[in-house]
Amino acid sequence: MELKVFVNGEPTLTSAATLAELVAQFGFAEAGVATALNGDFVPRTARQARRLVGDDQVEIVSPRQGG
């Protein structure tokens, strides 16, 4: 069954059941990104336990230049 979630603001259909599966489906290196779900940080070690539900807002970020 596919769920509609938002990944970095974009509506996305996914078969991933957990945040960890979503990160893997998007082709991210597990340790190369950090995640938040519905505005709260989700540590790398907790992604497998976080099940996705419809309309979840997922943020996936990586290192960037900053001032």
Partner: protein
């Protein structure tokens, strides 16, 4: 009074949260014409700390990895920021993501309250600082020169404060030197880093002459015609300003006094009319 000898800021190295930082220039990593120019500028600046950030990653792009490799190769301490965050909640989540990605509990805390001035939301800043300190972060708040906000940030557990010189990216220099001087006087033992608004090495030197502990800048170097050379110019200015502060500046006077001794001047006492 010799301020250089009596002032507590004359400790030899810059200590931030108990860590000795080798340089009083903190440099941003954004807006450079290329990654190589950025890396060369960091080296030319002898930057003690470089600031970094986190951004949304595109699917399968893995674009952050190359940047992080480059930064790691510079062998400089990194300080992630929470740039672009407009609420304490956003800033707190961003700080946590940055801590996991960069492996540091240092965070330059930004909670922006106004899109035009990029002015910090001081109320949100204090709230976010309190929460992050409780979570074990070493918080470097990007604040204004406001004395009460500075007190609240200290009470929240911030051991370092980073007041602006002027709004981010304006290059206007020390917009309110009187208030910055007051802040320095009120917080003699708190490391104070001037962050944002510096446009020229002379601005940075002026801040250091006032006794500020360090300067954090980005645009003035990154947007220079020759960023590497400008980085070296800022390094020299900050060293000069710091040395001047430690040497003890003369006091400004309203009336002229001759620097050449008057006694023995030829023709002294003759009628010159």
């Amino acid at each position: 009074m010799n301020t250089a000898l009596s002032h507590p800021l004359t400790r030899p190295a810059l200590a931030l949260y108990g860590v000795n930082v080798p340089s009083r220039l903190l440099l941003g990593t954004a807006l450079y014409p290329s990654p190589k120019v950025m890396a060369d500028a960091v080296k030319a600046a002898s930057a003690g700390v470089v600031t970094v950030s986190v951004r949304r990653e595109a699917a399968r792009a893995n674009s952050g990895a190359g940047f992080f490799e480059l930064i790691r190769g510079l062998n400089v301490r990194v300080m992630p920021n929470t740039a672009g965050c407009r609420t304490p909640r956003e800033a707190i989540a961003t700080a946590h993501m940055a801590r996991e990605l960069f492996g540091t509990d240092w965070v330059k805390l930004e909670v922006i309250g106004n899109d035009d001035t990029l002015q910090p939301d001081l109320f949100g800043l204090v709230e976010a600082a309190r929460a992050l300190v409780a979570d074990g972060f070493k918080v470097f708040p990007y604040t204004t020169e406001d004395l009460i906000a500075a007190e609240r940030l200290r009470q929240a557990g911030c051991e370092v404060l980073m007041p602006w010189a002027a709004p981010i990216g304006t290059g206007r220099g020390l917009a309110n030197p009187y208030a910055l001087r007051s802040l320095r006087t009120y917080f003699p033992d708190t490391p104070l880093i001037i962050d944002a608004g510096i446009g020229a090495p002379s601005h940075a030197a002026a801040a250091m002459e006032m006794g500020f502990d360090a300067v954090l800048l980005n645009t003035a170097v990154a947007r220079a015609a020759d960023p590497v050379r400008m980085a070296a110019a800022f390094r020299a200015a900050i060293e000069a300003g710091r040395s001047a502060f430690e040497a003890g500046l003369m006091e400004m006077r309203d009336t002229a006094t001759p620097s050449t001794p008057v006694a023995g001047t030829p023709f002294f006492g003759l009628d010159r009319s």
